[in-house]
């Protein structure tokens, strides 16, 4: 039996293997640590991620390499997205440490689950096979379900976890069902093979399109696009804020990668079908997300609805790549989408980081009211939050503006002027609730005079986050061209 076993080329998957190994190490080491030495686990976790980053960076050669029987791909796109992933997970760790400690949630499971989720996302990003997409997705989702429920005694968190689990399982089912249909039509699970089979014309079109619909539903669930968005507000609201911070940032990168791998790499010959689906979801997401966010009094819910609308914007670019069968705008359109995701993750990290900054032991600063008068309590962090809010609203000179702009540019380029006008009109609606946060911070008197205490590393990183949002807004070229370059070399 073993004679048939070929050792796969492990080199392209080096970061994943390293991370898997370190997860086991951390799991073991943590057993021997008391609560007082938990910082060792935290330090190990950050070191592991830095190690992954070093490996990814050093093995980055710009080649697209397939391994594990063509199930796993290592290309520049994957490397770039993974590096973004490490950055955001490290930010999550730094922002949440104090919050978790104050609530007794700073346990070994948190770090291990977080790393498992990260591993899942890395597999999703590098997936070249429907099975690896699914395995990565499940590893991520199962870790997230557990993370949401990590505060065992909170009924709200448990409810959120249940809801997330039930809906997530349903979405996974849809995705699997779609995958099975596509397998039925093309007789392959390898993403590149699927595209070849469709181009060759050997696939049954009806089954294929049926499968596509289920696949798109699964992707939309992960992205949180309308009408598969129902879990987003409840989970964002119910989960401990530190977990919300995680769910609201890094998984968006993975979901984007999944959408790109499945729809563009695998199913681009069906673009005219899925682009219409994405358009409907994009318009609905932008509309509903922005309208519903206005009514929220809880900032986590507000940011949840804002996430829905942002993902809608990202879909605008994803649907504009292939214009009437002409693939020449694929690179700029998908790099606009990628840029949007990167920008959104930066903004989302910062905003939830601000919510964590204002929370203290026994006190959740999750209502909008808690931001009242922040300018008098801490002018600097009020300014950081203002930058983040204006950036999310798409006001220059911040990164969110150029993200929106490049997406709109591609949408108009593909001929969707009406869709673009609808999108900007809803972002006008969206500006209202971001402005309201600024209003609370600057125009109102504080109701809470407690000084803002946070560890130095969090202050520094949060400030850097705010500055990055402003700086990459003034000099957007750097990330834009990185996105475009990664895509050029990977397509």
């Amino acid at each position: 039996m073993l004679a048939n076993f070929v050792v796969p080329d492990l080199y392209p998957a080096a970061p994943e293997l390293f991370l898997a190994l370190m997860i086991c190490v951390i799991l073991l080491v943590d057993l021997f640590l008391g609560q007082a030495q938990r910082w060792i686990t935290a330090l190990l976790t950050v070191t592991t991620l830095l190690g992954c980053a070093a490996i990814t960076y050093n093995t980055m050669d710009g080649q697209s390499v397939l391994t594990f029987s063509d199930m796993f791909i290592d290309d520049l796109l994957a490397d770039f997205l993974k590096l973004m992933l490490y950055v955001s997970v490290i930010a999550v760790l730094v922002y949440s440490r104090d919050y978790l400690k104050a609530r007794g949630l700073d346990r070994g499971e948190y770090y291990v689950l977080l790393l498992c989720a990260t591993l899942g996302m890395m597999v999703m990003i590098s997936a070249a096979h429907l099975l690896s997409v699914y395995i990565g997705l499940e590893l991520l989702s199962l870790s997230l379900y557990a993370l949401v429920a990590i505060d065992r005694d909170s009924p709200r968190a448990t409810e959120a976890a249940m809801k997330y689990f039930v809906l997530g399982a349903l979405a996974s089912g849809l995705l699997l069902y779609g995958m099975s249909m596509i397998y039925g039509a093309t007789a392959t699970l390898q993403i590149g093979g699927i595209a070849q089979a469709i181009v060759a014309g050997s696939a049954n079109k009806t089954v294929l399109v049926f499968g596509l619909v289920f696949l798109v539903s699964g992707i939309a669930f992960k992205l949180g696009a309308v009408p598969f968005h129902m879990w987003i507000p409840d989970v964002y609201h119910g989960a401990p804020t530190a977990i919300t911070l995680f769910i609201g940032s890094a998984p968006k990168i993975a979901a984007f990668a999944m959408a790109l791998r499945l729809l563009v790499y695998g199913l681009f010959p069906l673009a005219h079908h899925w682009q219409v689906m994405l358009m409907i979801m994009a318009v609905l997401s932008i509309g509903l997300g922005n309208l519903a966010a206005i009514a929220q009094t809880n900032i986590k819910r507000m940011l949840a609805y804002s996430a829905i609308s942002h993902m809608g914007f990202m879909l605008l670019a994803l649907m504009s790549g292939i214009v009437g069968g002409d693939p020449s705008y694929m690179i700029p359109a998908y790099s606009a989408a990628m840029y949007y995701v990167v920008a959104y993750v930066l903004m989302s990290l910062g905003s939830f980081g601000m919510v964590l900054l204002l929370s203290r032991a026994g006190y959740e600063a999750e209502n909008l009211e808690d931001f009242k008068g922040l300018n008098r309590r801490s002018p600097w962090f009020a300014a950081v939050m203002m930058v983040l809010m204006f950036s999310m609203a798409g006001i220059p000179f911040f990164i969110g503006f150029f993200a929106k702009f490049s997406v709109l540019l591609m949408a108009v380029n593909a001929g969707y002027i009406v869709v673009a006008v609808i999108a900007v009109m809803f972002s006008l609606v969206g500006a209202f609730y971001y402005l309201r946060v600024v209003k609370l911070m600057y125009f109102d008197a504080p109701t809470d005079a407690a000084p803002i205490v946070a560890p130095l590393d969090m202050r520094v990183l949060l400030s850097a986050n705010g500055i990055a949002v402003a700086l990459f807004g003034i000099f957007p070229q750097a990330i834009m061209s990185l996105c475009a370059y990664a895509l050029v070399r990977s397509m």
Binding site: N375, P396, F401, F402, A420, V424, L435, V438, Y442, M480
Partner: protein
């Protein structure tokens, strides 16, 4: 000659503002002197622009170019012609006065107040000299942020409502303009260069659509009837400095947009829609003039008078003759001085009485003779008395309008009566007569700082009224060129 002057005019106030913010309100004296030094320096660097301006040339001067976002062919492209150069001077000059006017009356967060005005000054200089459409747009929208904060933080009782209304109204217009800019980018084959856009040939339908998109953006800003309703609210609630900048500079941005975008990019649509624009302008001049007559709040009265005067400006642009356009430009600058002065006068009274109601005053001349003299002088200028700057622009536009069509000119000329009626009637009720009440009896006359501010403006108004040649001389070649350009069809 140094060609970095325009960059200096933009970035000196902005970086100066950061220095002011860093100094902080605690070190009040150092902070406000620093703010004054920055403002004066900002004004001084604009003087060589006027001195070194070649009056015989119609094209752009002091051009600076550097790539900004090469991926999208967006450049940091600056330059001024005879139309824009004066506004940079006006803006920098008004900023000095605003800093002086806020010297003692702003007690809360004074560093942020000064900082916001300096940043806004830099951004508005950017708007006037940006020759790349994206650069223009970025400055145009970014300037909303400081104004939003100024109204909301230091404004009156209904400041929150006014700040939101101001922001959302203006954003509505600029978002539509963004789509128009993207359309033009694609139509021009991938360029955001404004001067290249002036040469792009366009069919009538896109021209009209573009014109309408620009109209929404700029009409809100001017503001033209019927999208003017944000202005009285914003003026009444804004602190004195905010009203001054709003009236003197921000309103000019809209009118400037017409000259820079609408007319040269869509000349055929401009000609075709000119009757509409003339009608809207006349409604603003006549109807809003009557509205101003019945106001009981001084700031509201001057706000409506601003709308009426700005109606003159748009009228001047759309009658397409040299007198009209030059008159409109002169009117814009004159209105910058006069309306700024009117708001400063009201601010002087408000600081002492904390009321803007006309009924609360009466006989101010008995207790504040110096002030009343200046107030009367500016009121005369506001109603267009010969030998003041208010007369020159209005007279030129009326002459131009009569050339165009007698009845249009006739309707426009009614403003001379209406303007005199509402302004002088207000002065009569506020300043003349016997002392109205005990509060007025206890008023103290203006101090030397206030005298300096108002005196400088009075000098400017008088100089421009008696000898307008230095102003019209600068703009002559550029206006001539613009009219020639507009006369050529792009179909």
């Amino acid at each position: 000659m140094s060609s970095q002057l325009l960059s200096l005019a933009i970035w000196l106030p902005i970086f100066g503002a950061f220095a002011v913010l860093a100094t902080g309100s605690e070190r009040r004296d150092a902070m406000r002197w620093l703010a004054l030094v920055v403002a004066v320096a900002g004004f001084l660097v604009t003087l060589p622009l006027y001195a070194g301006f070649d009056r015989t040339q119609a094209g752009m001067q002091f051009v600076e170019q550097a790539p900004w976002i090469p991926g999208l062919n967006i450049h940091y492209l600056l330059g001024v012609d005879g139309i824009s150069v004066l506004f940079i001077l006006l803006n920098s000059f008004i900023t000095v006065l605003v800093v002086l006017a806020g010297w003692t009356v702003i007690e809360e967060k004074q560093a942020q107040y000064m900082g916001a005005f300096l940043i806004m000054s830099g951004l508005m200089n950017g708007i006037f000299c940006a020759l790349d459409a994206m650069l223009f747009y970025v400055f145009f929208e970014a300037s909303l942020i400081p104004m939003y904060l100024i109204i909301g933080v230091w404004g009156g009782p209904k400041r929150v409502y006014a700040a939101f209304k101001f922001f959302l109204y203006t954003l509505l217009g600029s978002l539509l303009m963004l789509i128009a800019l993207i359309y033009l980018y694609l139509a021009s084959g991938g360029s955001f260069n404004l001067l290249e856009w002036h040469q792009v040939r366009l069919e009538m339908t896109p021209q009209i659509l573009l014109f309408v998109a620009f109209l929404v953006a700029f009409a809100v800003k001017v503001p033209m009837w019927p999208v003017h309703t944000w202005l009285p609210d914003a003026h009444v609630e804004a602190p004195t400095g905010g009203s001054v900048v709003l009236a003197a500079i921000m309103l000019k941005l809209g009118a400037y947009g017409f000259v820079r975008f609408s007319l040269p990019i869509a000349p055929d649509a401009s000609q075709y829609l000119a009757p509409l624009m003339i009608t809207l302008s006349l409604i603003a001049v006549v109807y809003i003039g009557f509205v101003a007559l019945v106001q009981t709040d001084m700031k509201k009265l001057v706000a409506y008078s601003s709308i009426s005067h700005m109606g003159f400006v748009t009228l001047g642009f759309f009658i397409f003759n040299q007198l009209g356009v030059e008159g409109a430009l002169v009117q814009m600058i004159s209105h910058g001085f006069v309306s700024g002065a009117m708001f400063l006068c009201i601010g002087v009274m408000y600081d002492r009485m904390h009321s803007r109601n006309i009924a609360d005053y009466g006989g101010v001349i008995n207790t504040m003779p110096k002030f009343a003299a200046l107030f009367l002088f500016f009121a005369m200028a506001n109603s267009g008395l010969p030998a003041t700057s208010g007369f020159v622009g209005e007279f030129m536009v009326i002459l131009g309008a009569i050339k165009f069509n007698f009845w249009v000119g006739f309707a426009a000329a009614t403003t001379l009566i209406l303007g005199a009626a509402y302004t002088l009637w207000m002065v009569k009720r506020v300043a003349f007569g016997t002392v109205g009440n005990d509060h007025v009896r206890q008023l103290s006359d203006i101090n030397s700082r206030e005298l300096l501010v108002l005196g400088l403006l009075a000098l400017a108004v008088l100089a421009m009224g008696i000898y307008p040649f230095p102003f019209t001389d600068v703009m002559h070649a550029s206006v001539d060129n613009l009219l020639k350009h507009v006369a050529v069809s792009k179909l």
